[in-house]
């Protein structure tokens, strides 16, 4: 059985992206494939894009789709083994995963990190516990350290918007925020870009370096201006500190890209996974620019999920 949890779940990344572009030409070409199959989408956290695009992808493939908000619709889950469940959790992940496997042919699970215990989050304890007990393929709808469906959609979007032969220069840049956010999207984007035929770099303030396993071979800049020189794609995203886990160390420089950057870099295309806080994390100038790809990325979330689901149903992932 094959799960989809990261770029490492993919045998041939280039082939998968090409398949996605093929699927995108006719989203209803495989509507018999999922007939009589049930897709369960389990959310431990809020979601708009993932919820809608995943549901749509399943329906496009003819699947029965069920969406559950685990904590409110159903019961809170326990993830520790062997203990006495005399606290607030009502159901062990072992039962949850095995029971869901009775009703679903494929399960999507969203489980954000707590941002308190780095080892716990980075061991992907929640997702891995669920997978260990599940008896059907599991698709990560964003876990403690990764958001692979977003990254696949991002890669599709880059490929579609890069008509040139040379590898594009893609830069992931940190941006400000008022709340401590997970590292899932930047981790995952880095992981996928490192595996893709692009020239990839990361820009973030000191104290905000991502985990080495995700940075990989990417060059890391602590100077945004330097990093962004001649960038073809700039991926804007806030994240909290990995080093001082979950903290938001003070940043002196202004990392919010503005109108002057758009004007002086007319060739650069802008990306963000959304939701985004306007003028805090990303300015109107970038978001409303003709070079913004954010809505195309959102559209490609359906394509990404449909590609993964099709591969799982056809056992080719």
């Amino acid at each position: 059985m094959t799960h989809f949890t990261s770029v490492h779940s993919i045998k041939d990344l280039d082939a998968l992206v090409n398949q996605a572009l093929e699927i995108k030409k006719d989203l209803f070409a495989d509507e018999a494939l999922g007939k009589r199959k049930t897709l369960g989408l389990i959310f431990l956290n809020p979601s708009l894009r993932t919820r809608m695009s995943s549901q749509k992808a399943g329906m496009n493939l003819g699947m029965q789709v069920q969406v559950i908000n685990a904590g409110t619709d159903a019961w809170t889950w326990e993830f520790e083994d062997g203990g006495v469940m005399n606290k607030s959790t009502s159901e062990h992940v072992k039962e949850a995963a095995k029971v869901l496997s009775q009703y679903c042919d494929v399960i999507g699970l969203r489980a954000f990190p707590g941002l308190i215990d780095r080892n716990y989050d980075y061991s992907e304890h929640v997702l891995n516990s669920f997978i260990r007990h599940a008896e059907v393929p599991v698709i990560s709808l964003e876990s403690a350290t990764r958001h692979p469906l977003q990254s696949l959609a991002d890669l599709i979007t880059i490929k579609e918007n890069w008509p040139h032969k040379r590898a594009p220069k893609v830069v992931l840049t940190w941006a400000p925020h008022s709340k401590a956010l997970p590292q899932c999207v930047p981790n995952s984007f880095a992981e996928w870009m490192n595996a893709a035929p692009v020239e990839f770099a990361i820009a973030n303030p000191e104290g905000y370096d991502l985990a080495p396993e995700f940075v990989g071979s990417a060059k890391v800049y602590h100077n945004q201006k330097e990093a962004l020189q001649e960038a073809d794609f700039v991926y804007v995203k806030n994240w909290s500190s990995f080093e001082t886990y979950g903290a938001m160390p003070c940043v002196k420089d202004d990392w919010l890209l503005k109108k002057d950057f758009v004007e002086s870099n007319p060739q650069t295309q802008f990306m963000h996974c959304l939701p985004v806080r306007r003028n805090l994390e990303m300015s109107d100038a970038l978001l409303d620019s003709e070079n913004s790809l954010v809505y195309k990325q959102a559209y490609n979330r359906t394509v990404a999920m449909q590609t993964v689901l099709k591969s799982i149903l056809e056992r080719t992932l």
Copy 2:
């Protein structure tokens, strides 16, 4: 692109009501029309009738239907332009509307008024912001000042239950409540009745006059008894003050219609949009009377939504 937000969205009201009565004869006659189309129903507020009837109407037309509780399932929305989003909202309506347009062919949106700032509510800031950024047709599932699907269902119900040639006398009467309610339903009902072939009047205590733009040419009575004389249809509904916006000015007279009214007006039919607080806003005597139309109104909510959806899908609205 055509949206459905009020009676002004309709080209030919009489034709639409006739079409609705035709659709009602066989709710499954058009089940191929919506094939491969997605209807997104977005609720910023609670809903039972609108939620179920809209979902049913979409499914009857063969559509894929997705229902989202925006605030809890997904992210809270920001409606102001140009500001720095460093408060509690997580996603700007611009992104929300444009992203939903990536996944949906038609979007229904419910957004109640705040009842605090009259200019803000009466400018329909939330609905209009959403529509400005949406790229697909939008159907109001009740907005700050109107509930047009309810009014269409009400008009269908009146037409079905009025076998006579002469125009019926329809009276909208205010009724008591313990909570400050929006003016959406009475505003909307007044707007539709003023456009329909009926004799229309409004009864409400002083201090509760609706906005002139909705009252239109209707006669307004501050004496309930006088207003209700020889009424064929009495539409009962509470609303808070438009004049002292959102307030509930003290009312001395007893505006709750009771058994004696039912008995002395055997020809009068009673309407309410539901939910209703029994014996506070509408007495058991009216609700349980043989002349109550409230459940027929509820049934016609499906017919109304299906008529609007069909018109949008066929681009005839």
Copy 3:
């Protein structure tokens, strides 16, 4: 019109179980039966298994399925007649039931007991009020005193896992918990076992005897060890006191079955309705034993619901 609320809703229990086993062989054999029919699933309380299995059963039969969390998606309900609704409830069950009957061909309702007023709960006031006003068949998705779909799934599971000719010995045993739970599952299980061809007994501490109407002819033991001797099936479940209603009288003996019990009773099969608190109510040793039937019970929830739905749609219940 026929409702499904307890074992007393069934004409021929043996025939129904045999029909269930037939349905289980091909869950898609009747996918035309529910075409153009709507199943409404209304939850006043959380649910995972019931929610998913009921939705799946409806979809397997080709029905349109709508799931509503009544209190959060929609409006809070009033259950008392004749009063003035000037408190916190927004909609009377009379309107709720009649309105839902406008949109649904079959309605499932979940309504847990309050565990405060025994007479109120045991009169099934909520479920019965709803049924009194409903105009379509109603299926209990667990009510104040019973969980009949669970019991039907349990009986199917016992039949499937009992290859012998003699009647199996089935023992329902109380188990510890940190929270006061309803008596629904044990009441209902007792009621169904008393109607089934099994030898049935109940084990619980003093103070935890179930209501006589549910105990029926079953022998009640206050000594767990004695009760469980030579048991073929042990159904483990906590419940709060019926006698001192909703209380949790102190229990001195250790009622948690452990590894030694599993080892010394290799023929005994273990059941639980789930969710279960591991090592508080049921130990890992039982749950993870090869003789545990809990996931098979969960699977059979779909079969049970599909059997009941099919019978209702075919008017053979």
